[in-house]
C-alpha cells in the first residue's frame, strides 16, 4: 500500500516538474505593436474569461507559429481558460444544461441556428469588435444569422473526395465513385449519419436539409448498397488510413486534405460535380457569459490580421479574414483546393426538425445492421 502511494506521489511530482519546464524555447509571438485594436484595457486586467473551442483549432505555438491565446493573455492581462470539445453536440449538451459559463464558443452553422432558436446566445456589441470589418462579405448574411447579430465567422470548409492517385488512376469527378465496385474494400466514409447521408443526398440530387421522409428512405437505400463496398466508417482515423495507403478513396474536409497531402504526396482532391456540403464555424457569446467585455475584446483580437494569419496557417481551413486573404505571407493564398474558382453547388447543413432527426437515426441504425 505504501509502495503504491509513493508511486502515485512520485507521478504527481513528475507532472509538476513537467509543468515547470514548460516555459522557454523559441516560439514566435504576436507583436503587440502590429495589432490594430487597443488591448490595454485597464479594468479587464486580472479578470478571467472562458474560451470553449474545437480541439486543434487555434494556433498553439507549434510549427513555429505563435501561441495566440498565450499572447492574448500577455498583452491584455486577462487570464483565458481554454477548453476544448470534439463535436457541436457535445458543446450543445454542455451549454443547454448550464452549470458552467463560457464567454466565447465556436459552434458550426446549423448549431448556431439551433442555439439562437433556443435562446442560448446573446448579441455581442459590434462597436467593441471593429475588426469585424475584415470579415469577407461571403461570410455575412448567412442563413443561421441573417442579420449578422450573433456570430463572427472564424473558419469554414467544404467536403470533397480525397483519393490516392497510385490506386485510383482515373480521376473521379462524382460521388458515385464511392459506389464503384472497382474500389470495393478500399473506400471509407463518414461515421456519422448527417455527413454519410449528405453524400448520398448529393448524389441523388436531394437537398441536404430535406424533410421529406421518402428522400431519406431513398438515401438510406443508397447507403445500404454502399455498405458492402466500404472498408470502414471513419472520423479522424481517415488521416492515418489515407496517409498510409490503407484506403484509396475517402470524403473529408478540404483543409484536412492539405494536411494529409503534406505527408503523402500521392493524394489528390476533387470537389464532385453533384455539389457538396459547406460549413462555417463562428465565434459567439453564450447567454450567461460572465465576462462579456473580455469576450468582445478576445473576438476582436481573433479578427486581427496578424492573429487570423497565424490561425489560418495552423488550421489550414478557410479564412474569412480579407486582410489575411490579401496577405503575401499567407502560404495558402489563392490555394485552388481551399479557394476554388470554379462554381459548383454547395449547401449548408441546417437545423433539422426532431421528426427528421429521429428518422435519420433510425435509418442509420438500419444501414449499420444491413
Amino acid at each position: 500500500m505504501k509502495k503504491l502511494l509513493s508511486v502515485l506521489l512520485v507521478l504527481s511530482v513528475f507532472a509538476g516538474l513537467f509543468s515547470l519546464s514548460g516555459c522557454g524555447g523559441n516560439v514566435a509571438h504576436i507583436d503587440a505593436e502590429k495589432l490594430i485594436g487597443n488591448y490595454d484595457v485597464e479594468e479587464l486586467r486580472g479578470t478571467q474569461m472562458n474560451f470553449y473551442t474545437w480541439g486543434e483549432y487555434i494556433s498553439d505555438g507549434s510549427e513555429g507559429l505563435p501561441d495566440v491565446v498565450a499572447d492574448f493573455e500577455r498583452i491584455t492581462g486577462i487570464k483565458v481558460n481554454a477548453t476544448t470539445y470534439a463535436s457541436n453536440e457535445d458543446l450543445y449538451a454542455k451549454l443547454k444544461a448550464g452549470g458552467a459559463s463560457y464567454d466565447v464558443i465556436v459552434p458550426s452553422d446549423y448549431m448556431i441556428e439551433r442555439m439562437i432558436l433556443e435562446g442560448l446566445l446573446q448579441k455581442p456589441n459590434f462597436e467593441n469588435i471593429p475588426n469585424y470589418r475584415f470579415i469577407s462579405d461571403e461570410y455575412l448574411d448567412l442563413f443561421f444569422d441573417p442579420s449578422n447579430e450573433y456570430s463572427i465567422p472564424y473558419t469554414g470548409g467544404m467536403v470533397g473526395l480525397i483519393y490516392n492517385t497510385t490506386r485510383v488512376t482515373e480521376a473521379p469527378d462524382s460521388w458515385s465513385v464511392l459506389w464503384d465496385e472497382t474500389y470495393a474494400g478500399d473506400m471509407l466514409t463518414f461515421n456519422n449519419p448527417r455527413d454519410a447521408f449528405g453524400i448520398a443526398q448529393c448524389l441523388l440530387g436531394q437537398s441536404l436539409n430535406t424533410t421529406n421522409p421518402d428522400d431519406w428512405y431513398a438515401a438510406a437505400e443508397k447507403l445500404k448498397e454502399q455498405k458492402p463496398l466500404l472498408q470502414s466508417y471513419v472520423m479522424d482515423e481517415v488521416f492515418d488510413k489515407m496517409e498510409g495507403g490503407e484506403a484509396a478513396i475517402a470524403p473529408y474536409y478540404a483543409g484536412d486534405y492539405l494536411a494529409m497531402a503534406a505527408v503523402n504526396p500521392d493524394l489528390a482532391f476533387v470537389y464532385p460535380k453533384e455539389g457538396t456540403n459547406v460549413f462555417v464555424d463562428s465565434m459567439c457569446i453564450p447567454v450567461g457569459a460572465k465576462n462579456k467585455a473580455a469576450a468582445e475584446l478576445f473576438i476582436n483580437y481573433m479578427c486581427e490580421p496578424e492573429v487570423a494569419l497565424a490561425n489560418a496557417e495552423y488550421l489550414r481551413y478557410l479564412c474569412p479574414n480579407t486582410a489575411v486573404l490579401e496577405d503575401e505571407r499567407y502560404t495558402l493564398k489563392g490555394n485552388p483546393i481551399l479557394y476554388p474558382t470554379a462554381d459548383f453547388k454547395t449547401e449548408y447543413f441546417h437545423n433539422l426538425d426532431q421528426d427528421t432527426l429521429d428518422l435519420m437515426s433510425k435509418l442509420w441504425n438500419e444501414v449499420k445492421l444491413a
Partner: protein, 274 residues
C-alpha cells in the same frame, strides 16, 4: 451477532448515502426520461421503439460474452501463476498488468489499428513471409480483441487477489489423498477461487456490453453495438428519451445475464450480484 449488525449499519451509512445521491438519483432521471416524451408527459413509446434494436442488443451481448470468456481463459492461469510467485514478483506483475491501461485509451486503440491494419505490422510480416495479407481489422474479431485487451486486467486482478490468500495446504491434502492435478483444479482450487471469478466476470462483461468507440475504431464502424446506438441518440438526434430507454433496457438485460450466470456458478454466490 446483533452487535455486528449495528456496526454494519454505521459502516454502511456513508456508502448508502453516496449511492442514493450519486447513483440512484441520476438513475431515477434515466427512468424518468425513458418513460416520458420530449414535453415531459408519460409515454411507453420509447420502450416500444426498442424492438428495432433487438439485433444490436443480441450482438452486443454476444461479443461481450465471448470477450469475457476469452478473458477468463487467459486470466485464470496467469492469476494462479502470479499468486504462487514470490512477493516482489507479484507486486511487479500486478503493476505491469495495469501499466498499459494508464496510457490513453485512444492512443492504445490507434496503436492496435497500426498493428492490425491491412498495411499494418502483422500483415507486413505475413506478406514478407509470403503468407499473404489476412483481414484482421474491421472484423468482429478485432472488436472482441479490443474488449479483451481493455478489460483483461479487471479479470486478472480479482482472481489473483483471491488466489494469493488461498489455503494451499488444501491442495496438498487433496494431492496426498490421490487426486490427479486436474481434479485438484476442478474440485479444490476452482471452487475456492469462485468469488474472484464472479467479480472478474462482472467487471469484464458489464463494461464490455455498454462499450462504444471500440467497435467504431477497430470494427470499422460496421458493427453497431448498443453503446454506439445510445451515444448516437444523445449525440446526433438529441433524443435523450430514447437514449435513456435504450440504456435502461441494457441494464435490465445485464441484470438478467448476471442472474443466469450466478445460477450456473453457485447458489450461494448469487448474492454478489443480486
Amino acid at each position: 451477532m446483533k452487535k455486528t449488525s449495528l456496526r454494519a449499519k454505521i459502516l454502511n451509512a456513508p456508502y448508502i448515502v453516496w449511492a442514493i445521491l450519486f447513483i440512484l438519483a441520476p438513475m431515477f432521471m434515466v427512468v424518468f426520461y425513458a418513460l416520458t416524451d420530449r414535453s415531459g408527459s408519460f409515454t411507453l413509446q420509447n420502450i416500444t421503439a426498442l424492438a428495432v434494436y433487438k439485433e444490436t442488443f443480441g450482438r452486443s451481448i454476444g461479443y461481450a460474452a465471448v470477450a469475457t470468456a476469452v478473458c477468463l481463459l487467459i486470466a485464470y492461469p496467469l492469476a494462479y501463476i502470479m499468486a504462487r510467485s514470490n512477493a516482489s514478483k507479484q507486486r511487479t506483475l500486478m503493476l505491469l498488468i495495469m501499466l498499459p491501461m494508464w496510457m490513453n485509451f485512444l492512443i492504445r486503440t490507434y496503436s492496435w489499428i497500426s498493428i492490425l491494419a491491412n498495411t499494418g505490422i502483422i500483415n507486413s510480416l505475413l506478406r514478407a513471409l509470403g503468407l499473404g495479407p489476412v483481414q484482421l481489422i474491421n472484423t468482429p474479431g478485432a472488436v472482441i480483441l479490443g474488449m479483451v485487451y481493455n478489460y483483461l486486467p479487471y479479470m486478472i486482478l480479482p482472481i489473483y487477489s483471491i488466489m494469493c490468500k488461498l489455503d494451499y495446504s488444501l491442495v496438498e491434502a487433496a494431492q496426498d489423498l490421490g487426486c490427479s492435478s486436474r481434479s485438484v483444479l476442478r474440485r479444490v482450487i476452482f471452487p475456492l477461487s469462485l468469488p474472484g471469478v464472479v467479480s472478474g466476470i462482472t467487471m469484464v462483461f458489464v463494461p464490455s456490453v455498454s462499450t462504444f468507440y471500440i467497435s467504431q475504431k477497430l470494427g470499422g464502424g460496421k458493427f453497431l453495438l448498443v453503446g454506439d446506438s445510445i451515444e448516437m441518440q444523445f449525440q446526433t438526434s438529441y433524443n435523450y428519451n430514447l437514449g435513456a430507454s435504450l440504456s435502461l433496457a441494457l441494464m435490465v438485460m445485464i441484470l438478467v445475464c448476471m442472474v443466469v450466470m450466478n445460477r450456473f456458478a453457485d447458489e450461494d454466490e448469487g448474492a454478489i450480484i443480486l
